[in-house]
């Protein structure tokens, strides 16, 4: 969230809900190592819900991907 300070609390909450929804469809047959933490879906949901440091990083990662998906950046050459 580049403009984190500029977005309203309401929008921030909506974005958080969006991320929670997206994590909600994560398959249980998948886990993720984020730094020193090994997380399953429930762990990720909890971190985002709590908005702790890991949760904020998960939110940023999801929103960054969505931005690049929308802008078409993911189809440009690496």
């Amino acid at each position: 969230m580049n403009n984190e300070l500029e977005i309203s609390t309401e929008l921030k909450e909506q974005l958080k809900q969006l991320v929670l929804e997206r994590i909600g469809v994560m398959p249980n047959t998948l886990s993720i190592a984020v730094g020193s933490e090994a997380l399953n879906k429930q762990d990720m949901l909890r971190h985002v819900q709590d908005e702790d440091e890991t949760g904020k990083q998960i939110i940023e990662m999801e929103l960054s991907f969505l931005r690049d998906l929308a802008s078409g950046a993911i189809y440009a050459n690496a």
């Binding site: 469809v25 994560m26 398959p27 047959t29 998948l30 886990s31 993720i32 190592a33 984020v34 730094g35 020193s36 090994a38 399953n40 990083q57 990662m61 999801e62 960054s64 991907f65 690049d68 993911i74 050459n77 690496a78």
Partner: protein, 210 residues
């Protein structure tokens, strides 16, 4: 080629993955010259400092947990931090965030090249495969392109080629993961690959080889 030094702790689940997938790099380095493999409990600062002093390795490949200011080894013993000076070396840190502060600091102090991540290094994996990391096809998507940084350098290519080939392999896997032939797990994990792709950076002299 001067020698290669690899740290690969294995005291937790994530490090076990990095440890197992680093074997390929250790094997290649052995074929090409000297390799100092600080594996498991050997991956501690005392050993690292000792090998750097006595063997002067050209390439350091560090696996382990990290943050913006340090990289850890066995039981999270801090291996590299603000006190470290690693001049005349090429370094690849498969650790989180270390390219934010630590990497630029090392390059300022004479490290020729630092390749690392400005954000968390993310690895998707399959919970059922944690005791057989090399059989985990999901982890392979993340760790194989990462290994390419090290193996490309060991083959004598430049740091730019190592960084570029790794990023190209990540992008290839990413495209595969968002394609219609991908599994649901792969499609879901594509966002994590995208994060790694965008956070891997090369600092220092990109024309250097070891």
């Amino acid at each position: 080629m001067r020698s290669v030094l690899i740290t690969r702790p294995q005291h937790d689940e994530i490090n076990r993955y990095f440890h197992a997938w680093s074997e390929e790099v250790v094997d290649m380095a052995r074929l090409r010259g000297s390799v100092y493999d600080l594996s498991g409990p050997k991956a501690i600062r005392k050993n690292l400092d000792s090998y750097i002093q006595s063997k002067n390795p050209a390439f350091l490949f560090l696996n382990g947990h990290g943050n913006s200011k340090n990289i850890a080894g066995h039981d999270n013993d801090i291996l590299v931090d603000y006190r470290s000076s690693l001049p005349d070396t090429v370094m690849y840190a498969r650790s989180c965030d270390a390219a934010q502060v630590l990497g630029p600091g090392l390059v300022e102090k004479g490290t020729k090249v630092f390749i690392g991540y400005t954000r968390k290094f993310i690895c998707g994996y399959t919970p059922d495969k944690t005791w057989r990391p090399l059989e985990d096809a999901m982890a392979k998507l993340f760790l194989e392109p990462s290994n390419l940084v090290a193996t490309t350098l060991i083959k004598g290519n430049t740091a730019q080629e190592a960084h570029g080939r790794s990023r190209a392999a990540m992008y290839k896997n990413f495209r595969k993961m968002i394609s219609s032939t991908a599994t649901f797990e792969e499609r879901y994990a594509a966002r994590w690959m995208w994060s790694n792709l965008n956070s891997q950076v090369l600092l220092g002299d990109s024309s250097i080889s070891i």
